[in-house]
Subunit: 448 residues, 2 copies
């Protein structure tokens, strides 16, 4: 959203309701959700009321929990009913799960019987599974129908289904038997039977398939929607590409936060309360701090060397940093490769040879740079000292590259998700080893 | 892809061609591309030949440059012609841009006149722009047509267009005037005029719109395709949701690599040659190393303190690490928030107050932990020393939080992309400041 667009909305407090309606019509629900928390409460309410009912429903599904709750609380019973009627079943379930007990009750009482049934049905599923993403509003026909009958069915059904571009073919027990695209239907002769032109081996996911896998499958097959079936093969609903795009964005934020040492929380920054923000950050900081104090004990072990060869200390931060950076590069490559499926565990041996070689080259390159830097530039050390510093960096970088490469692979082999192990955790572990390598190498070369 | 699926393909060397065809049919082009580089050349060729022509074309577009080149080189002229005829125009252009001069010539000579025209047309555009993502194979009609005529037009056109779910309405000069969905067409009466039911204000992007913005717009409006127009408003092509999903995955990898101190290269790990991999990593390592050696000069400045108060050194790594982690958390939140649009530059003042408070709390929490750790656990320091260590960590963490928050905002204000500034770069800068703060605070408290 441009600054100009944001400004016009922020300065709309004096507009009449018709003017506000015209203005709000220019914004998508997502755009509104982005600046929602910067609006003051009165203006936010007026803008909400100025929106068309379908946009209200969409906006609600984009807002964070606390804002959803505020809106429902200030709406009249009548308006709540109109709003929830308009919402997609999957968005409605998300709303029900995030608001407080009282608001949930008032939303529930506003629901039609059909919406209550759909909601109860969807509430059975885990929100991170395929079933948690799906909508029960798909288009499905029986195998015996003709193309003309199917198109007529779609015309009647169209206002309700989330998409009519894919039509699923089911048997009498609602088991998924095939799929047809509207494109195929348009191309086919009217009297053709659906079962003669349908794709009989449709791509589908099970209700318990993880949302990340759902996203990969939909993307790999470039599908607009993906059917979700239960263990008996019965069609439960469909996941559409737009929901998958939201999942991909969410997983992306989660990955980035993990790399930034904040676990996997994915709340937008500005709508996260300060206590929650602090609470999400402190455990990681303290954990890494406590792990990091192992370096204190390692350094204690080398106290005599510290006092007698203070120049070594001056290069300690840059040595551990460089080790951490090299290890971080390797682990980033591995974690991302494993996540996209580009790297398989079977490739371990091939990766070992590659990274052994890469580690040696990176070690020699950085070792040469620090040798020259320490020997030639202030504060300046003696030749033998520069050799000790350069040699130990070669070993530290080589070692860090291997740890950065194989820690994620090991974690994946043990059956855990390697993205959970954040880069800072790796850096901390590498620090401990790096300090030891540094002092031992220097002691050996300088004969302490 | 499961291990079992990979195994079956890797062990398929002894299969007959019909068996191999049946096996290969079970894999999507994307799945094949994932393990392509692990196959030996002979097997890869046989599997390629076993694929249907449309799958061959798809697979080519998924493979890295070097593999594309290998395949084209071994194909006969006849087979190359069949293959390129089947490829989507946008994939063909990508292929042309990535292969060597000789291969490009042989591909070019295999093209039909129509494909040559399409290719020349698309080659005019930058590959990171909207126009670089688009296909010229859209469906468009004139405003005067009826619904029935439009549906008839689509039936004839269908085999060629990339999607017929959106039909664009243009005037005689091919300027975009509106859009219709196939869903609307199906629902409307046959004799209705297209211009009476079309959406007259279609969402579109300009040819030079950046691909990241294209992705955001398509996603915000939940569209299957987005039209691309030139400055005169003429329709040039469409970008479809599946291409946008690929862009999103690419941008994700780029972000993660940047956080891992590797610039923004996005080649898959296993198909990147070792020299290229090393070349992508060394500049960052050396740059960060040279910046990091500023810490050497800072430490040199405190040489007397190092010798006289060696216990301070033992806590140095954990102090700078913790500062780096706190700053990294803040910068991750800012960079991600700015990238998703959730944080706007206008929010700076609000963020300042939040982060001042968060920084104080995080500082006190981590300061308290290190105070207790240093005072109570081995190697053990005196009370005044523990107070000095704890107090300085409070200031270091507070300072790092502010730097981590405002460096990305400053960079964005200056008009640069804050994701380019990787977290390790931030950590290096925070190290220099952290060491200074640490020694100055300790010197003040301990009266050195």
């Amino acid at each position: 959203m441009t600054n100009d667009e944001t400004d016009r909305l922020l300065k709309s407090a004096n507009l009449t309701m018709p003017e506000l309606k015209a203005l709000a019509a220019e914004y998508t629900p997502q755009m509104l959700s982005e600046i929602w928390t910067t609006l003051d409460t009165g203006l936010a309410r007026r803008i909400f009321l100025a929106l068309g009912i379908d946009k209200k429903a969409d906006l609600i599904s984009w807002l964070p929990d606390s804002e959803q709750e505020k809106i429902i609380t200030f709406l009249s019973e009548q308006n709540t009913r109109l709003l929830v009627e308009e919402m997609e079943p999957d968005d409605l379930v998300d709303l029900m799960q995030s608001v407080s007990h009282e608001v949930r009750r008032s939303v529930w009482e506003s629901l039609s019987d059909k919406a209550k049934r759909e909601t109860l049905f969807l509430l059975r599923f885990d929100e991170d599974d395929a079933a948690g993403l799906m909508t029960p509003r798909y288009s499905a026909v029986q195998q015996g129908l003709t193309v003309a009958e199917t198109i007529r069915f779609l015309k009647n059904k169209s206002s309700e289904a989330e998409t009519i571009y894919y039509v699923y073919v089911v048997d009498k027990l609602n088991r998924l038997k095939g799929v047809l695209s509207l494109r195929q239907l348009i191309m086919a002769a009217d009297e053709t039977l659906v079962k003669d032109i349908m794709l009989t081996d449709p791509i589908y996911v099970r209700e318990e398939t993880d949302q990340e896998e759902v996203a990969q499958i939909l993307q790999a097959h470039e599908l607009i929607a993906l059917p979700v079936v239960d263990e008996a093969g019965k069609l439960l609903g469909i996941v559409t590409f737009d929901d998958v795009m939201d999942v991909i964005a969410e997983e992306h934020t989660e990955d980035v936060y993990r790399m930034g040492a904040m676990g996997g929380f994915i709340d937008p920054y500005l709508s996260t309360s300060i206590p929650r923000l602090v609470w999400k950050r402190i455990p990681w900081l303290v954990l890494l701090l406590l792990l990091g104090t192992v370096t204190t004990n390692v350094l204690h072990h080398y106290e005599t060397m510290i006092v007698n060869a203070a120049f070594l200390i001056m290069f300690l931060p840059v040595i551990t940093q460089t080790g951490g950076n090299a290890g971080g590069q390797s682990s980033t490559l591995m974690i991302r490769g494993l996540a996209t499926g580009e790297i398989q565990l079977r490739d371990s041996r091939r990766i070992l040879w590659r990274e052994l070689l890469v580690g040696v080259i990176l070690g020699i390159a950085t070792g040469a740079v620090i040798f020259l830097r320490s020997y030639l530039m202030p504060p300046g050390v003696e030749l033998s000292q520069a050799i000790a510093i350069g040699s130990s960096l070669i070993i530290v970088v080589f070692f860090s590259t291997l740890v950065g490469t194989f820690a994620p692979i090991l974690i994946a082999r043990l059956g855990f998700d390697p993205t959970v192990m954040s880069a800072p955790l790796m850096a901390t572990l590498i620090d401990v080893a790096g300090i030891t390598i540094y002092f031992e190498t220097a002691a050996y070369i300088l004969r302490f």
